[in-house]
Protein backbone atom coordinates (compact mmCIF):
# COMPACT_ATOMS: atom_id res chain seq x y z
CA UNK A 1 0.00 0.00 0.00
CA UNK A 2 1.20 3.52 -0.76
CA UNK A 3 -0.16 7.03 -0.31
CA UNK A 4 -1.92 7.04 -3.71
CA UNK A 5 -3.81 3.90 -2.67
CA UNK A 6 -4.95 5.69 0.51
CA UNK A 7 -6.03 8.78 -1.43
CA UNK A 8 -7.95 6.60 -3.91
CA UNK A 9 -9.62 4.77 -1.04
CA UNK A 10 -10.59 8.04 0.62
CA UNK A 11 -11.98 9.62 -2.56
CA UNK A 12 -13.79 6.38 -3.45
CA UNK A 13 -15.34 6.33 0.02
CA UNK A 14 -16.41 9.97 -0.30
CA UNK A 15 -18.09 9.20 -3.65
CA UNK A 16 -19.94 6.24 -2.11
CA UNK A 17 -21.09 8.40 0.79
CA UNK A 18 -22.14 11.19 -1.58
CA UNK A 19 -24.21 8.77 -3.66
CA UNK A 20 -25.93 7.55 -0.48
CA UNK A 21 -26.57 11.14 0.66
CA UNK A 22 -28.04 12.19 -2.69
CA UNK A 23 -30.33 9.14 -2.79
CA UNK A 24 -31.61 9.83 0.73
CA UNK A 25 -32.03 13.58 0.18
CA UNK A 26 -33.89 13.20 -3.11
CA UNK A 27 -35.87 9.96 -2.73
CA UNK A 28 -35.84 9.13 1.00
CA UNK A 29 -34.31 5.70 0.35
CA UNK A 30 -31.29 4.03 1.92
CA UNK A 31 -28.51 3.03 -0.48
CA UNK A 32 -28.36 -0.53 0.85
CA UNK A 33 -27.35 -2.82 -1.98
CA UNK A 34 -28.63 -6.08 -0.46
CA UNK A 35 -32.05 -4.50 0.15
CA UNK A 36 -32.15 -3.06 -3.36
CA UNK A 37 -31.28 -6.43 -4.91
CA UNK A 38 -33.88 -8.21 -2.76
CA UNK A 39 -36.65 -5.90 -3.94
CA UNK A 40 -35.61 -5.98 -7.58
CA UNK A 41 -35.80 -9.78 -7.43
CA UNK A 42 -38.83 -10.52 -5.32
CA UNK A 43 -40.94 -7.48 -4.67
CA UNK A 44 -42.01 -4.10 -5.86
CA UNK A 45 -44.46 -5.05 -8.60
CA UNK A 46 -45.28 -1.35 -8.91
CA UNK A 47 -43.01 0.18 -11.56
CA UNK A 48 -42.41 3.16 -9.28
CA UNK A 49 -40.72 0.90 -6.75
CA UNK A 50 -39.02 -1.51 -9.11
CA UNK A 51 -37.59 0.70 -11.87
CA UNK A 52 -35.43 3.10 -9.85
CA UNK A 53 -33.83 0.19 -8.02
CA UNK A 54 -33.06 -1.66 -11.24
CA UNK A 55 -31.64 1.57 -12.69
CA UNK A 56 -29.49 2.01 -9.57
CA UNK A 57 -27.97 -1.44 -10.09
CA UNK A 58 -27.44 -0.78 -13.80
CA UNK A 59 -25.82 2.54 -12.89
CA UNK A 60 -23.57 0.74 -10.41
CA UNK A 61 -22.32 -1.57 -13.16
CA UNK A 62 -21.82 1.33 -15.60
CA UNK A 63 -19.97 3.34 -12.93
CA UNK A 64 -17.54 0.50 -12.25
CA UNK A 65 -17.12 -0.05 -16.01
CA UNK A 66 -16.34 3.64 -16.55
CA UNK A 67 -13.61 3.41 -13.94
CA UNK A 68 -12.11 0.32 -15.56
CA UNK A 69 -12.26 1.91 -19.03
CA UNK A 70 -10.74 5.15 -17.81
CA UNK A 71 -8.00 3.65 -15.67
CA UNK A 72 -7.55 0.20 -17.19
CA UNK A 73 -7.64 -1.69 -13.94
CA UNK A 74 -10.46 -4.21 -14.27
CA UNK A 75 -9.94 -7.04 -11.78
CA UNK A 76 -9.34 -10.47 -13.25
CA UNK A 77 -10.51 -13.71 -11.66
CA UNK A 78 -8.26 -15.34 -9.06
CA UNK A 79 -7.03 -18.51 -10.72
CA UNK A 80 -5.88 -20.01 -7.42
CA UNK A 81 -9.21 -19.54 -5.62
CA UNK A 82 -11.36 -22.73 -5.28
CA UNK A 83 -14.70 -22.31 -7.10
CA UNK A 84 -16.64 -24.31 -4.49
CA UNK A 85 -15.38 -21.98 -1.78
CA UNK A 86 -16.52 -18.91 -3.72
CA UNK A 87 -19.98 -20.49 -4.18
CA UNK A 88 -20.24 -21.18 -0.44
CA UNK A 89 -19.18 -17.59 0.19
CA UNK A 90 -21.88 -16.28 -2.18
CA UNK A 91 -24.61 -18.31 -0.48
CA UNK A 92 -23.57 -16.98 2.93
CA UNK A 93 -23.35 -13.36 1.77
CA UNK A 94 -26.82 -13.56 0.21
CA UNK A 95 -28.51 -15.41 3.06
CA UNK A 96 -26.76 -13.43 5.81
CA UNK A 97 -27.30 -9.95 4.40
CA UNK A 98 -30.96 -10.78 3.76
CA UNK A 99 -31.46 -12.15 7.29
CA UNK A 100 -29.53 -9.28 8.91
CA UNK A 101 -31.39 -6.74 6.76
CA UNK A 102 -28.32 -5.05 5.41
CA UNK A 103 -24.72 -5.30 4.31
CA UNK A 104 -21.64 -3.09 4.17
CA UNK A 105 -23.59 -0.30 2.46
CA UNK A 106 -26.94 -0.37 4.27
CA UNK A 107 -25.60 -0.93 7.78
CA UNK A 108 -22.01 0.22 7.32
CA UNK A 109 -22.32 3.39 5.25
CA UNK A 110 -25.94 4.53 5.71
CA UNK A 111 -26.82 3.05 9.11
CA UNK A 112 -23.68 4.35 10.80
CA UNK A 113 -24.32 7.69 9.12
CA UNK A 114 -27.66 8.04 10.84
CA UNK A 115 -26.31 6.68 14.13
CA UNK A 116 -28.54 3.58 14.14
CA UNK A 117 -27.77 1.24 17.04
CA UNK A 118 -28.84 -1.80 14.98
CA UNK A 119 -26.43 -0.83 12.23
CA UNK A 120 -23.57 -0.20 14.64
CA UNK A 121 -24.04 -3.66 16.15
CA UNK A 122 -24.39 -5.30 12.72
CA UNK A 123 -21.26 -3.57 11.40
CA UNK A 124 -19.17 -4.55 14.42
CA UNK A 125 -20.40 -8.15 14.12
CA UNK A 126 -19.82 -8.62 10.39
CA UNK A 127 -16.47 -6.83 10.43
CA UNK A 128 -15.08 -8.84 13.35
CA UNK A 129 -16.50 -12.13 12.03
CA UNK A 130 -15.04 -11.40 8.58
CA UNK A 131 -11.59 -10.68 10.05
CA UNK A 132 -11.76 -13.90 12.06
CA UNK A 133 -12.95 -15.87 9.01
CA UNK A 134 -10.22 -14.57 6.69
CA UNK A 135 -7.61 -15.36 9.31
CA UNK A 136 -8.87 -18.91 9.79
CA UNK A 137 -9.40 -19.65 6.09
CA UNK A 138 -5.99 -18.32 5.11
CA UNK A 139 -3.76 -19.20 8.02
CA UNK A 140 -5.37 -22.33 9.49
CA UNK A 141 -6.73 -24.04 6.36
CA UNK A 142 -4.31 -22.41 3.94
CA UNK A 143 -7.15 -21.75 1.47
CA UNK A 144 -7.97 -18.71 -0.63
CA UNK A 145 -4.65 -16.98 -0.09
CA UNK A 146 -2.23 -16.11 -2.86
CA UNK A 147 -0.44 -19.39 -2.21
CA UNK A 148 -3.50 -21.49 -2.98
Amino acid sequence: MDSSSIIQALIGGVLIGTAAALLLWLTGHVAGISGIIGRVLFAAKKPDEFVWRLLFLIGLVIGAKLYYLGYGAAPTGREYFPAWLLIVSGLLVGFGSSLGKGCTSGHGVCGLGRLSLRSLVATLVFLSVAILTTTIVRHVFGLGGVNG
Binding site: G12, G28, R53, G59, G94, K101, R118, I131
Partner: protein, 154 residues
Protein backbone atom coordinates in the same frame (compact mmCIF):
# COMPACT_ATOMS: atom_id res chain seq x y z
CA UNK B 1 -39.21 10.02 -13.91
CA UNK B 2 -36.91 12.21 -11.82
CA UNK B 3 -36.65 9.34 -9.34
CA UNK B 4 -35.49 7.00 -12.10
CA UNK B 5 -32.78 9.43 -13.14
CA UNK B 6 -31.69 9.81 -9.52
CA UNK B 7 -31.51 6.00 -9.23
CA UNK B 8 -29.32 5.68 -12.32
CA UNK B 9 -26.98 8.55 -11.45
CA UNK B 10 -26.52 7.72 -7.76
CA UNK B 11 -25.91 4.09 -8.77
CA UNK B 12 -23.30 5.28 -11.24
CA UNK B 13 -21.54 7.39 -8.61
CA UNK B 14 -21.71 4.50 -6.16
CA UNK B 15 -20.23 2.00 -8.64
CA UNK B 16 -17.45 4.37 -9.71
CA UNK B 17 -16.63 5.00 -6.05
CA UNK B 18 -16.52 1.26 -5.28
CA UNK B 19 -14.11 0.58 -8.14
CA UNK B 20 -11.92 3.62 -7.38
CA UNK B 21 -11.77 2.65 -3.71
CA UNK B 22 -10.55 -0.87 -4.52
CA UNK B 23 -13.67 -2.53 -3.11
CA UNK B 24 -14.19 -4.47 -6.35
CA UNK B 25 -10.79 -6.17 -5.94
CA UNK B 26 -11.44 -9.08 -3.57
CA UNK B 27 -7.71 -9.56 -3.00
CA UNK B 28 -7.49 -6.03 -1.65
CA UNK B 29 -10.57 -6.54 0.56
CA UNK B 30 -9.13 -9.77 1.95
CA UNK B 31 -5.80 -8.00 2.42
CA UNK B 32 -7.66 -5.61 4.72
CA UNK B 33 -9.50 -8.37 6.59
CA UNK B 34 -6.33 -10.46 6.93
CA UNK B 35 -4.89 -8.60 9.92
CA UNK B 36 -2.51 -11.49 10.63
CA UNK B 37 -0.96 -11.28 7.16
CA UNK B 38 0.43 -8.28 5.29
CA UNK B 39 -2.30 -5.95 6.46
CA UNK B 40 -3.57 -3.38 3.95
CA UNK B 41 -5.36 -0.65 5.95
CA UNK B 42 -6.60 1.32 2.93
CA UNK B 43 -10.18 0.06 3.25
CA UNK B 44 -10.42 1.85 6.58
CA UNK B 45 -10.19 5.04 4.54
CA UNK B 46 -13.05 3.88 2.28
CA UNK B 47 -15.31 3.36 5.27
CA UNK B 48 -14.03 6.54 6.91
CA UNK B 49 -14.62 8.63 3.78
CA UNK B 50 -18.10 7.20 3.20
CA UNK B 51 -19.30 7.39 6.81
CA UNK B 52 -17.73 10.83 7.18
CA UNK B 53 -19.92 12.09 4.35
CA UNK B 54 -23.12 10.33 5.48
CA UNK B 55 -22.72 11.19 9.18
CA UNK B 56 -22.41 14.91 8.40
CA UNK B 57 -24.82 15.18 5.46
CA UNK B 58 -27.62 13.01 6.93
CA UNK B 59 -27.94 15.46 9.84
CA UNK B 60 -28.75 18.26 7.42
CA UNK B 61 -30.84 16.12 5.06
CA UNK B 62 -33.06 14.79 7.85
CA UNK B 63 -33.91 18.31 8.99
CA UNK B 64 -36.29 18.33 6.04
CA UNK B 65 -39.58 16.69 6.97
CA UNK B 66 -39.67 14.86 3.64
CA UNK B 67 -37.20 14.05 0.88
CA UNK B 68 -37.29 16.26 -2.23
CA UNK B 69 -39.14 13.78 -4.47
CA UNK B 70 -41.17 11.76 -1.97
CA UNK B 71 -43.47 12.15 1.03
CA UNK B 72 -41.48 10.06 3.53
CA UNK B 73 -38.17 8.42 4.43
CA UNK B 74 -37.95 4.64 4.14
CA UNK B 75 -35.86 3.67 7.14
CA UNK B 76 -36.41 0.39 8.91
CA UNK B 77 -38.92 0.80 11.73
CA UNK B 78 -37.03 -1.66 13.87
CA UNK B 79 -35.10 -0.06 16.71
CA UNK B 80 -33.87 -3.00 18.76
CA UNK B 81 -31.09 -5.44 18.17
CA UNK B 82 -32.59 -8.89 17.64
CA UNK B 83 -31.14 -12.39 17.10
CA UNK B 84 -31.84 -12.26 13.34
CA UNK B 85 -29.70 -9.13 13.02
CA UNK B 86 -26.77 -10.73 14.85
CA UNK B 87 -27.07 -14.09 13.09
CA UNK B 88 -27.46 -12.45 9.68
CA UNK B 89 -24.50 -10.13 10.20
CA UNK B 90 -22.38 -13.06 11.39
CA UNK B 91 -23.27 -15.26 8.38
CA UNK B 92 -22.65 -12.34 6.04
CA UNK B 93 -19.29 -11.74 7.76
CA UNK B 94 -18.25 -15.37 7.20
CA UNK B 95 -19.15 -15.16 3.51
CA UNK B 96 -17.42 -11.80 3.08
CA UNK B 97 -14.33 -13.03 4.91
CA UNK B 98 -14.07 -16.11 2.68
CA UNK B 99 -14.54 -14.55 -0.75
CA UNK B 100 -13.90 -10.82 -0.36
CA UNK B 101 -17.18 -9.79 -2.01
CA UNK B 102 -20.05 -7.93 -0.36
CA UNK B 103 -23.25 -7.34 -2.39
CA UNK B 104 -22.22 -4.07 -4.14
CA UNK B 105 -18.95 -5.41 -5.54
CA UNK B 106 -20.77 -8.65 -6.44
CA UNK B 107 -23.07 -6.65 -8.74
CA UNK B 108 -20.06 -4.70 -10.06
CA UNK B 109 -18.62 -8.05 -11.25
CA UNK B 110 -20.96 -7.60 -14.24
CA UNK B 111 -18.64 -4.79 -15.36
CA UNK B 112 -15.68 -7.19 -15.53
CA UNK B 113 -17.21 -10.62 -16.13
CA UNK B 114 -15.01 -13.63 -15.47
CA UNK B 115 -15.38 -16.98 -13.73
CA UNK B 116 -15.85 -15.31 -10.35
CA UNK B 117 -19.01 -13.58 -11.59
CA UNK B 118 -20.63 -16.88 -12.55
CA UNK B 119 -19.59 -18.58 -9.32
CA UNK B 120 -20.45 -15.80 -6.88
CA UNK B 121 -23.42 -13.80 -8.14
CA UNK B 122 -25.87 -16.70 -8.77
CA UNK B 123 -24.91 -18.20 -5.39
CA UNK B 124 -25.55 -14.88 -3.66
CA UNK B 125 -28.95 -14.48 -5.36
CA UNK B 126 -29.82 -18.05 -4.37
CA UNK B 127 -28.83 -17.24 -0.80
CA UNK B 128 -31.16 -14.21 -0.78
CA UNK B 129 -33.94 -16.33 -2.29
CA UNK B 130 -33.53 -19.10 0.28
CA UNK B 131 -33.68 -16.63 3.17
CA UNK B 132 -36.85 -14.97 1.84
CA UNK B 133 -38.40 -18.36 1.14
CA UNK B 134 -37.60 -19.52 4.66
CA UNK B 135 -39.24 -16.45 6.23
CA UNK B 136 -42.24 -16.65 3.90
CA UNK B 137 -42.83 -20.32 4.73
CA UNK B 138 -42.56 -19.57 8.46
CA UNK B 139 -45.02 -16.67 8.15
CA UNK B 140 -47.27 -18.52 5.68
CA UNK B 141 -47.03 -15.69 3.18
CA UNK B 142 -45.74 -15.33 -0.35
CA UNK B 143 -42.21 -14.04 -0.78
CA UNK B 144 -43.49 -10.93 -2.55
CA UNK B 145 -45.87 -10.07 0.30
CA UNK B 146 -43.11 -10.64 2.82
CA UNK B 147 -40.60 -8.39 1.07
CA UNK B 148 -43.15 -5.69 0.37
CA UNK B 149 -43.86 -5.29 4.07
CA UNK B 150 -40.25 -4.40 4.81
CA UNK B 151 -38.69 -0.98 4.70
CA UNK B 152 -35.13 -0.33 3.61
CA UNK B 153 -32.33 -1.91 5.55
CA UNK B 154 -30.51 -0.60 8.65
Amino acid sequence: MAKYLVGLLTGLLFGFGLALAGMTQPEKVLGFLDVAGQWDPSLLFVLGGAVGVTAISFRFILRRKTPVLDSRYYFSEKLHVDPALIAGAALFGIGWGIGGYCPGPAVALLAAPGWELWAFLPAMLLGIFLQKLWVAVLDKKTIVAEVNEQNDCS
